[in-house]
């Protein structure tokens, strides 16, 4: 049976070139980068090169890249680190209702410690409104954190505008770019971004490694205490193979960015057009234009999404109901809910995410399977309109 993977936003396969660069660092070049001998220097050089490559992907300096265990740690560190480094009284954070749980739950943890958090609404297509950010800022605001692009509906936020508003108020601006990196051009200097979260496994690198970009001079407290790794800010012996893989993945992502965007966007638009043309009562959530190249989020009215997901899985097609965490907990998507989708449509929505190995044949096959399974499930749905 044909296997079609349309869940690149959950994770991506490690590219061969990436794996090839990683492999020597397990059993051959296994030195600790902190060690003062050849084994150590070799590892140190590899980590330095990776740091430069990751920095280049987002237009930062290598000294501003801090390796972490992944996107979740980066988000946690950004929120708790900035809040923890503020003078008493500067205890207000602004974020949005459609952030990843790594961010939302960090904010919830801050609230438990007595900080206040404002969660900005989004419009029906999933965009934060800059004027709403302006209104939410007060003299106690220490951090604004708005994701670069949303993981569920792909909405690319007006980051330059949002960062400018924060900058001009003297407030640190953080963005979770886990989904955006490798899919959109990012330049932290041009955009006025102070902090940015990255994850390797969303850009064809390994799992368990990510980074937080921290602009020079940004006030943030340390997150993991111990040795002097990562400029004494994030302790622990470096995950050298992971860092090397992340570096290679970042280098490939930067090099292939334009081709990737062009090819994936074309496939995405083809997929959306075919869904709308071939299957009745389908709607696309989010914007057609300001959307991540590989993201498709669709509501298949009258059918519960998890049943549809199961039918697709039986047919070898991997998709997702919103974020992976949500499909484990059976909670309706907080993103679609924030966009104001009626609850029955939230339950009827699926996310497909395309990537570098997706082909037109994959899309054709998926549409034909969807067509059959949607018909099958609608035939016995109590909500199907006669």
């Amino acid at each position: 049976m044909r296997q079609v993977y349309l869940d690149y936003a959950a994770t991506t396969p490690v590219k061969e070139e990436v794996l090839a660069e990683m492999l020597p660092f397990f059993s051959l070049q296994y030195g600790n980068p902190s060690s003062l001998h050849k084994f150590g220097y070799t590892a140190r050089e590899a980590v330095d090169l990776a740091r430069e490559r990751v920095a280049a992907l987002i237009g930062a300096k290598a000294s501003e890249i801090y390796f972490t265990s992944g996107g979740t740690e980066s988000d946690n560190w950004a929120v708790e680190g900035v809040a923890g480094a503020q003078p008493a009284g500067r205890a207000h954070v602004i974020t949005s209702k459609i952030e990843h749980h790594a961010l939302l739950h960090s904010c919830a943890a801050l609230e438990e410690k007595g900080h206040s958090v404002s969660y900005l609404e989004v419009d029906p297509t999933g965009f934060v409104q800059p004027h709403a950010l302006k209104q939410a800022i007060n003299e106690r605001t220490c951090l604004v954190s708005i994701m670069f692009a949303n993981n569920e509906v792909g909405s690319i936020q007006p980051i330059a505008e949002l960062a400018k508003i924060a900058n001009s108020a003297g407030i640190i601006f953080h963005t979770d770019a886990v989904q955006a990196a490798g899919n959109l051009p990012i330049n932290v200097q041009q955009l006025g971004i102070d902090m940015l979260s990255l994850s390797a496994h969303k850009i064809y690198g390994p799992k368990g490694i990510g980074a937080l970009y921290i602009k020079e001079g940004t006030a943030i407290s340390n997150f993991i205490h111990g040795g002097s790794q990562e400029h004494k800010r994030r302790a622990g012996t470096e995950n050298v193979p992971g860092i090397v893989g992340f570096g290679k993945a970042a280098e490939l992502a930067a090099r292939n960015l334009n081709d990737h965007i062009k090819k994936t966007t074309t496939l995405r638009d083809y997929f959306i057009d075919r869904l709308l043309a071939d299957i009745p009562d389908v709607q696309i959530n989010g914007s057609r234009e300001q959307r991540l190249p590989g993201n498709v989020n669709a509501t298949f009215n009258y059918i519960e999404g998890e049943a549809l997901l199961l039918d697709l899985d039986i047919n070898g097609i991997a998709a997702s109901t919103g974020s992976a965490c949500s499909s484990g907990s059976f909670a309706p998507s907080h993103v679609l809910t924030a966009m104001g989708l009626p609850i029955e449509q939230v339950y009827s929505s699926l996310r497909f995410s395309l990537g570098d190995f997706t082909t037109k044949e994959d899309i054709d096959h998926t549409v034909s399977v969807l067509n059959a399974t949607v018909k099958r499930l609608r035939a016995f749905s109590p909500f199907t309109q006669e």
Partner: protein, 143 residues
């Protein structure tokens, strides 16, 4: 590998008794789109025996599979026998459901009770299995 066993998968991919019927003697439904699942059941009843049952379900794989076995199990049963069946009987018939999914089988139990309740009311029947049953009661329907 799937989160469900083969029997559940079989009832999901080929559900028995899916659809509606002409001139049903009783119809009941339970759940709501707000909860993410909803089942409607139609019954053909002759001399207090369920001759046929059909369902329509909006819900996940386990809700659909439970609907299928539940309608299968009540066919040929008297109203009292059908009322005595609980969601645990449907889960057992399916050979088990993942723990987080057991609640989905309650949908079938409650839809059957509501259909029979309606029928009993219309036909002035006193049924042992309906004692204390209140179709309008707030039902704990956790997710």
């Amino acid at each position: 590998m799937s989160m469900y066993n083969e029997k559940v998968m079989s009832h999901f991919t080929n559900p028995h008794n899916a659809g509606t019927m002409e001139n049903p003697d009783a119809v009941g439904s339970f759940g709501s789109p707000v909860c993410g699942d909803m089942m409607e059941i139609s019954l053909k009843i002759t001399d207090g025996v369920i001759e046929d049952a059909k369902f329509r379900t909006f819900g996940c794989g386990s809700a659909i599979a439970s609907s299928s076995v539940a309608t299968e199990m009540i066919k040929g049963k008297t109203l009292e026998e059908a009322l005595a069946l609980t969601n645990n009987d449907f889960v057992a018939e399916l050979g088990g459901l993942p723990e987080a999914k057991v609640h989905c089988s309650v949908l079938s139990e409650q839809a059957i009770k509501r259909a029979i309740y309606q029928y009993a009311k219309e036909h002035d029947l006193e049924l042992e299995g309906l004692k204390g049953f209140d179709p309008d009661a707030e039902f704990e329907h956790d997710h």
